[in-house]
Structures are given as structure tokens and as C-alpha cells.
Amino acid sequence: MKAADRPADPVGGIQRILVALDASRQSNAALEAAAALAETMQAELEGVFVEDIELLHLAELPFSREIGFTSSSRRALDSAAMARSLRVRASQARAMLESVSARHKVVSSFRVTRGNVLTELLAATEEVDMVAIGTGGHRMGYSQQGGSTYSGMVQSCRCSVLVLQDRTAPGGSVVVLFDGSDASMRALELAKSLASSHHDPLVVILLEGSNDAGKLEKLAVRAIGDFSDVQFRDLSMTQLAGVRKILDKLNCGVFLLPRPISRSIDAFSVEKLTEFRCPVMLLP
């Protein structure tokens, strides 16, 4: 789809979604999920591939060796080969992006930058409304790059962040956590837009805190208006540890989580988010 074909009124005001690509299985899975969401939200996809400057530095060290991930064989590294390898990966990522965006009929663009991965990606988020990031690197727990990139993005990014797991269970409902705050009102608005655009059911989890469930529901009902396919579920602060199971039972397709709430609750820490089976959308 060309830029001229862009939709005039993207859902929830999200027009551009950034997805970090490195042609790995994890990033491809994130790309698929991001493209599906972009299609739903009628947003554009922006793919970015960062040539990790640290890898290029590494390749210039005289003793540097690479241990194959599956073969465990040891190979000597040099800067030319590393640069070539990164170029190949970038072209694979581009091809993947074009293929996926064509299938989902979304507008996409692609660019390659060189530098520190986190720095480059954070810089790229300045121009988008949402960034999609996979948790794969983090969950492996052995890579300074993958794990720190995910953590850094979730913690530092000022736009919305879509946290995507390696394997997400297919689901249908849009679930939003609502505590009556301004951030949760915006999240509810976006959740309603998502649900109505694809005729998915909407589930509002009413997080009891300063407001009781009845009051929260009234607020939510007022915000939702005439959207009919909605259900409400009460949740106390003490029940938050079991939120993942609740989401599984609700057949959650995407979970909208206001960032102000997530920051104060351990169940939504950067670490715990990797254990969710559905995509989690962190909203500012």
C-alpha cells in the first residue's frame, strides 16, 4: 500500500508503529503481530534495522571469535565479514517487512541505522506513536543486547509500547485495565476503538483501589457509550498476581495497560510482562 492510500482516521490516534527488526525468529514474530495490529488500527508500519556498532567493534578485535548458536563451532570474526553479515540480515528484514505488510495491507517503510541499538531505537520512537518490541531476547537471559534493549525500551520509551511474546495464543477479546485515572480513560477509549473496528468483544477489568467497582463501572460505561459487546470484571489489588490466568480465560487478544498503573504494580514489571501469553500494550 502506498503512502497516498493511508487511512484518514487511524484508530485511537495511532498512526505509526515502529518495529525493530533483526531478521531473527523473534523479530519476525513481533513483526507479524505488529502488522496485524497495524491493520486493525489502520496505522503505518515503520521497520528499523540497527547495525550494532558494538558488533562491528567486536569484529575488529584481534582475538574475536564467534560460537555458532546451533553448531557450537568457533569461527574467527573480521569487520568486513561482520558488516557483510549485517547487510544480509538487513536485506532479509526488509524483505520480511514488505511481505508481511503486503499480506496485511498496511503501509510500511524501512530504514537502516548504525549505532548503539537501544539509543538508535529510542531515537526512532520520537517519530512514532507506538513501538512493537519482542520479549524473546530478554527471556533468553543471556544477551546483553536483547534483554537490555527490551528493558530499556519498556522503561525509557515515551510512546506506547506493544510488548510481544515469542508465542502468543490466538485470542479475540480486547482487554483493558481500568482504574478511573486519566491514563486508563485514554486506554479505555483506545480499547473501545480497537474492539469496535473488528467487532471483537471488549472486557474492562475494573481495578479497585481508590474507587470501588461500582463507581468504576459507571465511569467506564459513560466512557464507552453505546458499545454493547462489553463485559466488566472486578479485580482487587490482591488479585493482581493472578491477572495472567484471568487474561488466558478471557481469551485475550490484546491487553491494554496504562503505564502509570504498571509502574506501581509488581505484576506488571518489565520482567513479569515477558510471561504474558497475549500482547500487552503499554500506554502513556
Binding site: D22, E54, F63, I67, S72, L77, R139, G141, Y142
Partner: protein, 802 residues
């Protein structure tokens, strides 16, 4: 002379309709017994009754003699009192898919087992996915996966920390991992690294090398951990699926507790379901080979689950008694079964559900009736039949596979034990040929049921014939016959076997006449078949086939074929021959001439010289030599050279029925006494001058009668036949009528002397007390002529010697 001439009554032995006490055969009960085949019936009873190996049955006899009807009837009677054999099914062999397993179940249970298995699959399709979707299963599966992830994470984390402790970072490269020294949290730059002291660089490189070794070990461990996890998942599946499957299969086990084969199979099913539980989740819409190419489920069942279906190849659920199978088209696959293939995506595939039973499977535990000629004509059918009878088991092998003609992947279904009585139906020559040339035949078909071509013509059999015709008419929906029609058929039946004392057992042919007569009765608007209808059917049948006979008669009448029916000629006589074209035979006279001269005792058969005469004809001619020498020249050499020929014959001549005619011509030529051309002669002769019986006597007489009638019956014309053939006379009514009116004559002779007297009008002559023939007799003239030749020859020899 008068004693040789036959009365009209001798020419046709009619069946008297008055002996039948019915008005129509509709009044008669069904003919249950086989008419006049006691020997064959006893053999069939014995063959069916005996249960020893190799006592299969060969019913031999002429075609259309009712062998199949008799055999089938007897076997059905026997089979009805015998128990139904078991059903047979083929099921998947889960451990070796190309060798399907055969399972035997009590009669009628095959289909039930098939339905039970289909029901089980339906229930498993619900139960297994439910189990795999259950909260408990998912939780346990996640635990196993989480444990692996945790193990990996911990291992990498430990390595990561170890690296950090040395100021080294572990980086992920596009295709692997690498270690690099860090400075203030960032990878040290190459130029900074160069500024380090040798010791510092040495220390870093040693640390990196150690870490790399650690990492290598760790990566090598990962596949092992994954395998362990897969084993745990399998065990989990086993435990969880077992709880769902075991209960369902246990119910089947109770139902089939007395059938060990079924229980073994159910154990295998249980294990296979556990091992392939995922297929119950994937099997909703067929199998997707490539995007957009989905194999549909076969017959409503989903393809991967077909492996649990039951292929019932033999079902005796609806049967009573042992099976009796007649296989009309005994090809090899139709006999021993076959494995079919299905084209899928351009390839031929098969499985145990495409195993098809053969007639041997269907007849197993009972009787299989086959036409021997058809079996022998089908490639490899005879060999296949012998092999299964010898091995006593049915093993399905495709011909293509056996002969290495095709290399398509096929099956080797488990062999099924065979217990069958095979009955072959065939003509006699097939039986004798097989006995002669196939040593295995006698071992496998030890009982011969020999059906006779003819049965006694007795009053009882006449009555049985009437009942048989009535039964046939009822079975075929034909009109009933009146007594006259029955009598006429019995007469024609005797004519068919050329014997007034016998009746034909070719009931198929009789049935055809009956059907034709029914047609003519219908044409005539009659409610019942009469003798006239039978007569018309016989005449119409003959007329349809009489083109060649009529052409010969026509050419004879026109003089193209030279046959004299009046006057006298020396050394010339009318012989009689029969021509057979398919199912139709007719007689026609041929002119036979003889010429004699002095020679060395040779009687030359010109037919033999030009290789148109058969060996029996030649034998007949050579006998003449013996007769002449023995009678006329016992003490001196036969100084004769004679030539004999069938004039105007251009095809082969076979048989010795003309040998008496040839002898009459020879005697005429020797004696110079002319023969009456108003006679025709048939009969073979021996060296003593006795005239012997021949075949086709009726056709021969009728053939000459037709020629005479065309030339004009003078009252002098007639035929000489051997007296031994009088009992075979069933002549056409026209001949009988002409004889009754004195316009035609049939003479039955015992000897050449009787015949020559009729043909010449001169006495044959008998030797007197001094051993001489009376002057004026034929024998006297012949002897004189031969003596003169001998004397002349002797003189010549003496002249040549001096």
C-alpha cells in the same frame, strides 16, 4: 435282398405322447433329480463330503450339459446345513504400515467391529482434544517448557555473570555469540585494546578463550535438554491421553473379550492414539500438504484417522450356511484379491483400506465354483489358484509386483488361512490335458465328476424329461408344453445323440429349442407349446445354418458337382460324408471312383498322396488291401495297382466311413460289373469284409435323399448303411415318408457281399466245396481278374529274370 431293406418303423423311433398323462407340463412337479447322471452325482456327493486336503472337484463333460446347475444345486444343499465361516477384516499395522493385519471375527461381527471402531474414533476426536486443551494439561505443559527455559536462562546467566566478573560481555552476533572485553559498560574499541599492555591483553584473551569453551559446552547441552523436555512432554501426553483413551477402549475390550486378535489390536490402537494424539487436533479438515492443497477426508472420515478404521473384506452377516460362490470372470485379482491405489497429487498411494477381497476370500469356509476354461485363459489365474490351494492360505500379491512390472509402493497384507472346496467345471479334454501336462493338478483335484453326454431313453427318463421341460418353462417364464411337444423334444433329443435308445444330456441346447418354440407358439397365438412349435423351432434352427448345404445341393442339381442317381457305372459309386460347421452338421454324397491295373499290390489313396486324407481315412484304404489279398489272393502276390479318389473334393477327407464304398468301387473296377448309381453307400469295412458302424448316419441318408429328391425320386434310389447303425436312425419325416411310399430305400447290410449284391444286382458268390466262386458272381470275376494279373506279372518277372 428283402431282408436288408428297412421298414419305415425302423427309421424313426418316435416317442408316444400317449404315455404322458398330463395335458400340459404345468401340471408336473419340479424336476429335483438330475436325469441319468448317477455316476457324476455320486462323485459330487463324495467330493463335497470328503474333507481331506486335495479333494477338490473337477466336473467334466460336454458344454451346456447342466454341470453347473447340478453342481451348484448339490453344493447349495450341502452348504445350507454348514456353519457360516468367520468374517475377515484388515486393520492397520501400526508398527509396519505396509503389512496390514488380518483379523477374524465370528460371522456378522466384522461390520459391528467396524462400526464400533468408527464410533471410538468419533469419541476420541472429542475426548483427545478436550484433554489436550484441559487446564491441567496446559499447565503441566507450560511447567515443562518453563523448566527448560529456566534451565537455559540459568546456564546462560551464569556464564554471563562469569564473563562480567572478568569485565567481558557476551554479545549476540547474527549467527551466534561472541565475547568482548568492556570498559565502562561498553565494548572496548580496537584502538583502545591496542593500548593495553601485553599482560592485560593476554589476560583478556585467556579469559575469553575459557568462556568460549564454556559456551561451546553449554550450546552442546541444549539439544540434550530439549530431548529431555520432549520426552517429558511425551510422557505427559501418555499420562493424560491414557486417562481419556483407556476408558473408551476398555469398553471395547469387554465386548470383544473372547477374541484375542481383537484385544491385541485394541492394545496397538491405544498405544498409537497416545503416540499420535496431535492428529486428533489436526484432523478437522483433512491434511494440508502445501498451501492451498488440502487432501479431503475419505468417505466422511478424516484422513489421518483412517488408520483406525476397519476394512471388512468378508462379511457373512447376511449369510445363512457356508458360502457358495461362482466366479464368472476368474482373473487373478478377482480370485486372490487385490490392493487398489488412489492417485493423490500425481502419485499413487494405498493403505489397508484399499485391500479388496477376491472370490477365494468370499468362498473361504465354503465352496468356490469356477469355469476351468476361463481360469486357464486368464493370465496367472491357474497358477494363483494352485498356489493358494497348496499353501492353504490367501496371500494378496499384485501381478505387477510379482512380475516387477511396476514399482509403486504396495502392501503385503497378512495371509488369511484358506479352507475352501473348489469345483472346476470344464470339458473333458481340459481335464485330460491337465492330468497329462500339469503334475500338480492330480494332487489338487482328486475327484472327477464325469457327466455323460447321453442318458438312457426309458419310460422313466421320458417322464423325467417332461418334468425337466416343465421346470425349465416355469423358471424361464415360458409357456408350458403339451404331451406332443414333450414327445417331439424327446425324439429330437435322441436324434441329437444319434441313438434311438438314448437321450441327450445337453440340457442347455434343449432349453434353447424350448425358448425358440415358445417364440413360435407366441407368434401363432398359442397358450401352450405344441409339437408343431417344436418342429418349427428345429427346422428354423437348421434353416438358419443351412446356407452351405443348400449351395451344395444347388450345385449338385445344376451338375457342377457330378452325382448320378440313376444308371450304372463301373468303378464308380456314391459315397456319403458329413460336413460339420460349428453346431450344425449335414450329409452330402461324393462320387468315389476306382481304377485298377497291374502292379505290385498297391491300393493308392489319392487323397493321402496329396495330403488331403487323414490318417483314419488312409487306414480304411489300407484295410482294402488286406481284404483283397486275404480273400482273393491268399496264395499268390497281389499284382494289382489301384487308385481311389473322392471326386470333386477340395478339402480334407477324414474318417473310414467311406471305406466300404471304396471297396465296392474297387470290386466293380476289378470285376468289370457296373454299380447302380441310384445308391449311395456308407460304412467302414474290416479286412474280413464285415461292414462296421459309422457316425452321422442320419445326416448322410438325408443328404443323399435330398439329392435324389431334387433329381426326382424314382423308387430305385436308396442308401446302404451298416446294420449296426439301424439303432441310430432318427431320420427326417420326409425320408420316412418316402420310404413308406416305396420311393426311397434304406438297406442295412452286414457284409460287403450283401452290399455288392444290392449295388450290382449280381450275386456276390460264395466259395463252393472246392473253394471256387461260382461263375457269374462278382467274387468270381474279381478273383479271375486278380489271378490273371498275378499270372501276367509272374510271366513278366520270369522274362525279366531270363
Amino acid at each position: 435282398m428283402s431282408d436288408t431293406k428297412l421298414d419305415p418303423a425302423k427309421l424313426y423311433t418316435a416317442c408316444d405322447p400317449a404315455q404322458f398323462k398330463f395335458k400340459s407340463t404345468a401340471e408336473l412337479p419340479d424336476q429335483e433329480e438330475v436325469i441319468g447322471q448317477a455316476r457324476a452325482v455320486d462323485a459330487i456327493r463324495f467330493g463335497i463330503g470328503i474333507e481331506q486336503e486335495g479333494f477338490n472337484l473337477f466336473a467334466l463333460g460336454p458344454s451346456r450339459s447342466g454341470k453347473q446347475t447340478v453342481v451348484t444345486k448339490f453344493i447349495q444343499g450341502q452348504a445350507a446345513g454348514q456353519p457360516e465361516p468367520p468374517d475377515w477384516c484388515y486393520v492397520d499395522n501400526f508398527s509396519d504400515a505396509h503389512k496390514p493385519v488380518a483379523i477374524s471375527l465370528p460371522s456378522g461381527m466384522g461390520v459391528r467391529f467396524q462400526q464400533d471402531m468408527a464410533q471410538l474414533v468419533q469419541e476420541l476426536r472429542t475426548a483427545v482434544p478436550e484433554t489436550l486443551e484441559s487446564e491441567e494439561y496446559r499447565a503441566r505443559l507450560q511447567e515443562i517448557e518453563a523448566a527448560l527455559n529456566e534451565k537455559q536462562e540459568q546456564a546462560f546467566e551464569k556464564l554471563h555473570e562469569e564473563a562480567n566478573a572478568h569485565g567481558i560481555a557476551m554479545l549476540r552476533t547474527p549467527t551466534g555469540f561472541a565475547f568482548a572485553p568492556t570498559k565502562k559498560g561498553e565494548i572496548i574499541k580496537p584502538e583502545e585494546y591496542k593500548l593495553l599492555s601485553d599482560d592485560e591483553r593476554q589476560e583478556i584473551e585467556v579469559a575469553v578463550d575459557a568462556l568460549q569453551v564454556e559456551l561451546e559446552k553449554l550450546i552442546q547441552e541444549i539439544p540434550k535438554w530439549r530431548r529431555q523436555m520432549q520426552d517429558e512432554v511425551k510422557q505427559l501426553n501418555r499420562d493424560v491421553i491414557m486417562s481419556a483413551v483407556g476408558q473408551l477402549i476398555d469398553e471395547l475390550r469387554k465386548q470383544y473379550a473372547t477374541l484375542p486378535d481383537v484385544l491385541t489390536y485394541l492394545d496397538a490402537v491405544q498405544q498409537d492414539v497416545i503416540d499420535h494424539a496431535d492428529q486428533f487436533r489436526q484432523a478437522e479438515d483433512g491434511t494440508q500438504l502445501l498451501p492451498g492443497f488440502v487432501l479431503p477426508g475419505a468417505e466422511g472420515q478424516t484422513w489421518p484417522l483412517n488408520r483406525y478404521s476397519v476394512n471388512v473384506i468378508v462379511d457373512h452377516g447376511e449369510s445363512t450356511g457356508a458360502p457358495v460362490v461362482y466366479l464368472d470372470n476368474p482373473t487373478y485379482p478377482n480370485l486372490v484379491g487385490r490392493v487398489e491405489h488412489q492417485a493423490q497429487m500425481g502419485a499413487l498411494v494405498t493403505d489397508f483400506t484399499m485391500v479388496k477381497a477376491g472370490a477365494l476370500h468370499q468362498a473361504n469356509g465354503g465352496y468356490l465354483i469356477l469355469d476351468a476354461r476361463k481360469v486357464l485363459m486368464q493370465p496367472y489365474a491357474w497358477e494363483g489358484l494352485k498356489r493358494v490351494l497348496q499353501s492353504r492360505e490367501i496371500r494378496i500379491e499384485s501381478l505387477g509386483q510379482m512380475l516387477s512390472l511396476i514399482s509403486t509402493v504396495s502392501l503385503e497384507p497378512q495371509a488369511i488361512p484358506l479352507d475352501v472346496k473348489v469345483v472346476l467345471l470344464g470339458e473333458r479334454f481340459l481335464y485330460y490335458l491337465l492330468c497329462e501336462y500339469d503334475p500338480e493338478f492330480s494332487e489338487l483335484f482328486k475327484v472327477a465328476a464325469d457327466f455323460d453326454d447321453m442318458v438312457e431313453r426309458s419310460d422313466d427318463n421320458n417322464q423325467n424329461y417332461a418334468s425337466f421341460l416343465g421346470t425349465l418353462a416355469r423358471q424361464d417364464g415360458l409357456r408350458a408344453l403339451d404331451a406332443g411337444a414333450v414327445a417331439r423334444i424327446i425324439d429330437h433329443s435322441a436324434r441329437m445323440v444319434e441313438d434311438t435308445e438314448k437321450l441327450s444330456s445337453r440340457f442347455g441346447k434343449i432349453a434353447d429349442y424350448l425358448r425358440e418354440a415358445d417364440y413360435w407358439a407366441g407368434q401363432a397365438g398359442r397358450e401352450i407349446i405344441t409339437a408343431a412349435d417344436i418342429e418349427q423351432a428345429i427346422d428354423a434352427h437348421d434353416r438358419r445354418l443351412s446356407r452351405i448345404r443348400e449351395r451344395l445341393q444347388e450345385e449338385t442339381q445344376r451338375g457342377t458337382l457330378m452325382i448320378s442317381t440313376d444308371g450304372t457305372e463301373i468303378g464308380q459309386i456314391n459315397g456319403l460324408s458329413v460336413m460339420q460347421f460349428g453346431d450344425y452338421a449335414f450329409g452330402h454324397p461324393s462320387r468315389i471312383t476306382a481304377r485298377v491295373r497291374m502292379g505290385k499290390g498297391e491300393v493308392v489313396d489319392i487323397e493321402r498322396e496329396i495330403e488331403l486324407g487323414g490318417p483314419i481315412h488312409s487306414k480304411g484304404v489300407l484295410i482294402l488291401n488286406g481284404f483283397l489279398s486275404g480273400r482273393y489272393c491268399p496264395d499268390q502276390p497281389l499284382s494289382l495297382s489301384a487308385s481311389l479318389v473322392f471326386e470333386q473334393t477340395y478339402g480334407g477327407v477324414e474318417g473310414d466311413s467311406a471305406s466300404s464304398a471304396e471297396l465296392y468301387a474297387l470290386l466293380s473296377a476289378l470285376s468289370g460289373i457296373p454299380l447302380k448309381q441310384s445308391f449311395a453307400v456308407t460304412g467302414s469295412v474290416n479286412q474280413l469284409g464285415q461292414v462296421q458302424a459309422i457316425g452321422g448316419v442320419n445326416e448322410k441318408i438325408e443328404g443323399f435323399f435330398d439329392v435324389c429328391r431334387n433329381h426326382g425320386l424314382t423308387g430305385d434310389q436308396g442308401v446302404l448303411i451298416p446294420r449296426a447303425n439301424v439303432k441310430h436312425l432318427m431320420l427326417h419325416k420326409d425320408v420316412v415318408a418316402a420310404v413308406a411310399q416305396g420311393k426311397f430305400h434304406v438297406h442295412a447290410v452286414n457284409s460287403i457281399d450283401e452290399g455288392i449284391a444290392i449295388l450290382t444286382g449280381a450275386p456276390a458268390g460264395e466259395r463252393d466245396e472246392s473253394g471256387n466262386y461260382p461263375p457269374g458272381s462278382v467274387n468270381y470275376s474279381v478273383e479271375q481278374k486278380l489271378a490273371a494279373m498275378a499270372a501276367h506279372a509272374h510271366e513278366q518277372e520270369e522274362d525279366e529274370g531270363s
